[in-house]
């Protein structure tokens, strides 16, 4: 008996991908093929790079969300948090620009990471220490962050110092060996995320806490700490997204990041992470973010749909994709 199981265990390791986990990738492939049929320029290099670069923001934030969700939480505040972090970062950069020159960008970026981590920690601590539904907590902080950015921008826009713009632009528009920098940054975040979730103690505990907090507690896992840390990771991811985002448009506005939370959660769920927690799929999440952005892109590239109905078609495609995935399993 034990011989058999040892052999099986060996095979197990050599075959790490479960078929059901392939769903999001298959869905992505189908959408790519359909897209190419609808409009050949869909697969043009520029378009592909545009779409992938754009999806970098949602993907980066969604990596954080994968941690939060797989640890049994939820964060609705990410969109507003990103706007808030962006605002703080721009204010710091603008304040330092006269004295530090483009060094202000580095300080601003570092500050953004700190602020993001603190925002995440606030969410996490209210959820864990206060023992309140994450949905309510992060809905509350969503309102708070959104109001703060509106306040900081006076309802208008908070542009980054002109002097910094050129030095900062490459973070969004630059590329290394033809690969745009946001894609590289998101790759780094994704690899770090995958490493953390799959290869470290923390990742294990995260999934255990999400699967059954009681079992985790009885196994010596500091449940509250693990969950809080997931929100902090989320905050850091938001900050990284903010850092990549600012050079794109050069300003924070009250609409920055609006409704991104929904996109982020959708990406995570499409990617195969269950909302009730207990398992996280980093690569699935990435596929989810790409799927969302590819569908939106296709809606514009195709001429099939009235502008009024774009959202409807997107909704239908997502539901159909999930249904197909469900029934081909």
């Amino acid at each position: 008996m034990s011989i058999t199981s040892a052999q099986v265990a060996a095979r197990d390791r050599s075959w790490p991908i479960r078929w059901s986990d392939a769903g999001p990738f298959i869905a992505l492939a189908v959408i790519l093929v359909l897209g190419a049929l609808v409009n050949p320029s869909f697969l043009s290099e520029t378009n592909v790079l545009n779409v992938v670069t754009r999806s970098a923001f949602v993907a980066i934030i969604a990596i954080g969300a994968t941690f939060v969700i797989s640890s049994g939480g939820l964060d609705l505040s990410v969109g507003s948090m990103m706007a808030f972090v962006t605002g703080i970062m721009i204010m710091i950069m603008n304040a330092l620009a006269p004295s530090l020159g483009s060094g202000a960008i580095l300080v601003g970026g570092a500050a953004a990471l700190v602020v993001g981590a603190l925002c995440g920690a606030a969410n996490g601590l209210i959820v864990t220490v206060g023992r309140i539904e994450p949905f309510i907590v992060t809905l509350g902080t969503m309102g708070i962050f959104r109001a703060l950015i509106t306040f900081m921008t006076d309802g208008g826009s908070l542009p980054i110092d002109r002097g910094l713009r050129d030095a900062y632009r490459p973070v969004y528009f630059g590329s290394v060996l033809g690969v745009p920098i946001p894609i590289l940054i998101s790759l780094v975040v994704i690899l770090l995320g995958a490493f953390l979730l799959y290869r470290t103690k923390y990742g294990r505990r995260c999934a255990a806490v999400g699967a059954n907090p009681e079992v985790a507690r009885f196994s010596g896992v500091p449940v509250a700490r693990v969950q809080t840390l997931a929100y902090v990771i989320q905050g850091l991811c938001v900050a990284v997204a903010a850092i990549c985002y600012v050079p794109r448009l050069g300003a924070a506005t009250p609409t920055t990041g609006q409704l991104w939370e929904l996109q982020v959660i959708t990406a995570v769920v499409i990617g195969g992470t269950a909302l009730r927690g207990g398992k996280g799929r980093i690569w699935g999440t990435v596929a989810g973010a790409l799927i969302l952005e590819a569908i939106a892109n296709l809606m514009v590239l195709s001429d099939l749909v009235s502008e009024y109905l774009v959202a409807a078609v997107q909704g239908v495609i997502i539901i159909v994709a999930m249904l197909v995935h469900r029934f081909t399993k």
């Binding site: 008996m1 034990s2 058999t4 199981s5 040892a6 099986v8 265990a9 060996a10 197990d12 390791r13 799959y198 290869r199 470290t200 103690k201 990742g203 294990r204 505990r205 999934a207 255990a208 699967a211 059954n212 009681e214 079992v215 985790a216 507690r217 009885f218 196994s219 010596g220 896992v221 500091p222 207990g278 398992k279």
Partner: protein
């Protein structure tokens, strides 16, 4: 043995013909042919993972068979689902407790068959009926209690009550007594006898062979998913049953007692009180000692040790492990100091049922499979292989979620899990709950080897023979307090029961 004398022409209540079940490539049961007759208690015995629970699920419509067919009262039947089987008069009491924890006892009992008056549910009638059934099986739970608040044993009784709510042709009890203590077991056995007298067929699974001997009319033995045979109970001794199950000669059940321990205490606890009550308790355990903790269900044993572990609010005057005072008590701190606790609630607190075996095994002791910030996954797989071998976890593949293991094998996985951190003191709450007799002796051996190696073990058990056979010293709890201590020759069934029941003048 009235059932054996039944005339041949009365068709059996339920007949299984060549029944089999496969999950993907794995065959867990094959070629089971079995008659269950009205008015008989038919016991099914077999090792952990032999397929008993699977067979019961096939018979009660919870799982569809992959091969074979069922014949009920002479008519072939194929149950669409559990409800169809229930309608036909077959009720299954699951081995794993299946109740909705957020609902009350009465709501659980009547779920799916609520009593209504006009448009509304008739809570009064349901509560009344629930109270009757609960009383008839000696359950302390009240109709209005939330299941979430009930201890395990009471939940089990609620499950049994649920099966007995309506008249049945066949009642299947899958290890109903695993979480019960003696008094409740007696009450349950009475109920089974009453059912038999009422002409109901009872299928009874238990690893406690004395119960089987006392109750069963016929016994079917399963081994590795195969049917070994059906025997009249009178023809089998407990030892013969065990050997049929295991397919080999069994060693002694309990290891010989060890010499009295002499060293300084490994663990010393003074003035431990848990919760709001004044439940101050002091005790110690020495290297080489098995300390048994006895008591009635709900006497607070689990509570006391969960308090010690820091799993529930508790105060202690002084706690010393290995000569070092312990300040903050938490599972992690205890683990690092060398003490672990194995919970009695393996499903709710022990294992992540939807995760694979390896993450379950290593969750408590992740540091063991952790090198410079990275999980050593091949080390983890190797650890699993070792655990599967050392603890004799019977799986046909390790590609399973923990929830797919048989109950007994889950218990062994749990044991392997807490032992991953090489503790010097092990607290095991109900060590052999749901473990077959062959494996029981393995676990006892295991505990024996552990303490012989200079470690100590605290065993909380509701099974008297186990407590008596294993312990060097026994503490008895009653009403949340440690009320008696026995050593050596004083450790007898009678003494422990007397001490445990001393305050039970309420029944």
């Amino acid at each position: 043995m009235p059932s054996l004398d039944k005339p041949r022409e009365a068709p059996p209540t339920l007949r299984a013909e060549d029944l089999g079940k496969t999950y993907g490539p794995i065959t867990v049961l094959s070629g089971v042919t079995l008659d269950i007759r009205a008015g008989e208690v038919h016991a099914i015995i077999g090792e952990n993972g032999a397929g008993k629970s699977t067979l019961m699920k096939l018979l009660s419509g919870h799982v569809r068979p992959s091969a074979g067919r069922l014949v009920m009262d002479g008519q072939p039947v194929a149950f669409e689902d559990a409800v169809a089987a229930e309608t036909a008069g077959i009720a299954l009491v699951h081995q794993e407790i299946l109740l909705a924890a957020d609902l009350t006892v009465a709501e659980n009992l009547f779920l799916g068959r609520e009593i209504t008056r006009g448009l509304t549910v008739d809570d009064r009638a349901m509560n009344r009926r629930a109270a009757e059934v609960l009383a008839s099986i000696g359950a302390a739970a009240r109709p209005g209690d939330l299941v979430r608040d009930l201890p395990l044993a009471q939940r089990q009784l609620v499950q049994i009550a649920r099966a007995l709510l309506d008249p049945r042709k066949l009642v299947i009890l899958d290890e109903p007594t695993a979480v019960l203590a003696n008094a409740e077991v007696e009450a349950l056995m009475d109920i089974v006898r009453r059912l038999r007298e009422a002409g109901v067929a009872v299928l009874y699974i238990s690893h406690r062979l004395e119960e089987v001997e006392a109750l069963a009319d016929r016994i079917t033995v399963l081994r590795d998913g195969q049917m070994i045979g059906t025997y009249p109970a009178a023809s089998l001794t407990q030892r013969a049953m065990a050997e049929l199950m295991v397919g080999r000669e069994l060693a002694m059940l309990y290891p010989p007692k060890r010499p009295a321990p002499t060293g300084a205490p490994l663990l010393e606890v003074t003035g431990l009180s848990v919760g709001h009550g004044a439940q101050a308790g002091s005790f110690e355990v020495r290297p080489g000692e098995v300390l048994g903790i006895g008591g009635m269900i709900g006497s607070g044993r689990t509570e006391l040790f969960e308090g010690l572990m820091g799993l529930r609010p508790a105060r202690a005057d002084r706690v010393v492990l290995n000569g070092r005072p312990i300040g903050r008590r938490s599972v992690a701190a205890w683990r690092d100091a060398g003490l672990v606790y194995l919970t009695e609630d393996r499903k709710g607190r022990g294992l992540l049922l939807e995760q694979r075996l390896a993450p379950n095994l290593t969750l408590l002791a992740l540091d063991q499979v952790h090198r410079s910030f990275v999980l050593d996954r091949s080390g983890e797989a190797a650890a699993l292989d070792v655990a599967v071998r050392d603890y004799d976890i019977r799986v046909r593949t390790v590609h399973l979620d923990a929830g797919q293991l048989s109950g007994g094998n889950q218990q062994k996985l749990l044991l392997a899990k807490v032992m991953m951190s090489y503790p010097s003191v092990v607290i095991i709450d109900e060590p052999t709950r749901g473990i077959d007799i062959g494996n029981k002796s393995q676990i006892y051996d295991f505990i024996d080897r552990l303490v012989r190696a200079g470690k100590a073990c605290i065993v909380i058990s509701s099974e008297l023979p186990e407590l008596v056979g294993l312990s060097d010293r026994v503490l008895v709890m009653r009403g949340g307090r440690l009320v008696a201590e026995f050593t050596g020759e004083e450790i007898t069934d009678a003494n422990v029961v007397y001490a445990a029941a001393g305050g039970r003048n309420d029944t």
